[in-house]
Amino acid sequence: MAGRIVVPFGPQHPVLPEPIHLDLVLEDERVVEAIPSIGYVHRGLEKLVEKRDFKDFVYIAERICGICSFTHSVGYCKAIEAIMDLQVPERAQYLRTIWSEYSRLHSHLLWLGLYADAMGFENLFMNAWRIRETILDAMEETTGGRVIQGVCKVGGVRRDISDAKLKEMTAKLDSIGGEIEDLCHVFFDDASVKHRSVGVGMLSKEDAHKLGAVGPVAKGSGIALDLRQTGYSAYGSLDFKPIVETGCDCYSRCIVRAKELAQSVDLIKQAAANIPAGDIEVKVRGNPDGEYFSRVEQPRGECIHYVKANGSKNILRERVRTPSSANIPPLVKMLEGCQMADVPVIVLSIDPCIGCAER
């Protein structure tokens, strides 16, 4: 006869990068139900549109999250540019693509480190973050900031990268290519990683579609959903395919992210080879009037910036739907029926960025 106990998981937990609270209803070490509870980092950022004019709001949009900061600013700028029908120059689009892919590299390396830490594999965690330092140095040299870049603006970008610098960056990526491959080799093949991830946190393809999973959570369950294929920024002229795995468990989500590292390096090299010369910004006159949903592919999935403006300096409404908040219903489903010791691994496998999820 199994009695039920309720164990609170979070908001403070060594494995969680950001605070989320889950009430786990357990029957003898097996989780029967999980009730999520968020709201610890709600900052009300969407209400700040009333205070800052639309050009200065980029600084707030990129501070929604520290890890996916550049893609948030791209999403916001794209929405305003679509409403005002601005033609952003090609060079600015390519630069935005290059920085977005660097952002994806650093986010996935961070996640691989945290995932290893959740399993107790500290050495792998530190090695993943050591490789990440090279990526952050490249970002700091070109944009000025390691975490918050501050280079995207309505109408283009604020800083340029010279061609000599681009060659240096691609050479650097070539030199760390071997280290990235060694790191991924550990994730693909190591016995302890496989023991803790294979068969854990199953999410079938139908469930992933019905519950609205996005990003690597959907790709690990066999759904080929990658917003970069719609061709925004310079992705229309780059050659790539979304990476899909059919394992439906934590191991396949891990493999998807590890393989996306190699894909991002390839995309950066393609963009750096084909970048055209030209201006990096276009002058913005007047105020936006209209509405638009701008969709971008963040490292964690599909992010939507909905902007509604009525011709004044302050926009009326900005709504951000981040991939982490879309992945909470699949998380609740995945936790049913798992062992309690697997809960940290499953929670981390959706890549929770709760700062994004709550704004």
Partner: protein, 159 residues
């Protein structure tokens, strides 16, 4: 400039659930439910996507109208509907997993539904310790509304 085509169809409270069921049968996935308040009218957008085609259903209601939940069709809508209820005060009935206003903890109830900010001149505080000062800035016209205090404190923690 890449601008994708996005269609917006208006629906009413009565045919909302049937329109959403049609979307489900055609294989669309629910992307988001968003809400905005413009001059006493709440606009709720239901967004769907299939093969990168983006479709919206828009529901316009006045304050106090009760909206039916679509969690019967798409279970994942519970998180968006709870958020709309907490931030805007829109009442939605029959949500499958109902947090009853406790999903997002704010110090002010329904913060996005409060009237516009008024500028108030704050009293001149002592300039010494910045951590102790309660959100008032020296010599500057400040917006001293209660629910902007979390923003000022966040700035101090960020700095």
């Amino acid at each position: 400039m890449h601008k994708e085509e996005q269609t917006i169809t208006e629906v009413g409270v009565d045919n909302l659930v049937s329109e959403v069921s049609k979307m489900y049968d055609e294989g669309y996935r629910l992307v988001q439910i968003g809400c905005g308040k413009y001059d006493d009218i709440f606009e709720i957008n239901y967004s769907f996507d299939k093969d990168y085609k983006f479709v919206n259903l828009r529901l316009k209601i006045a304050e106090g109208v009760v909206v039916p939940s679509i969690t019967g069709v798409y279970l994942c809508a519970f998180i968006y509907e709870n958020e709309i209820h907490d931030l805007f005060g829109v009442s939605i009935k029959d949500i499958a997993i109902d947090f009853k206003g406790n999903l997002i903890r704010t110090s002010v109830k329904n913060p996005f539904n409060t009237p516009t900010i008024t500028k108030v001149k704050a009293a001149k505080p002592a300039k010494s310790e910045n951590a102790a000062a309660a959100g008032a800035k020296p010599d500057v016209k400040s917006d001293a509304k209660p629910d902007t205090k979390p923003d000022a404190e966040k700035k101090k923690e960020e700095a």
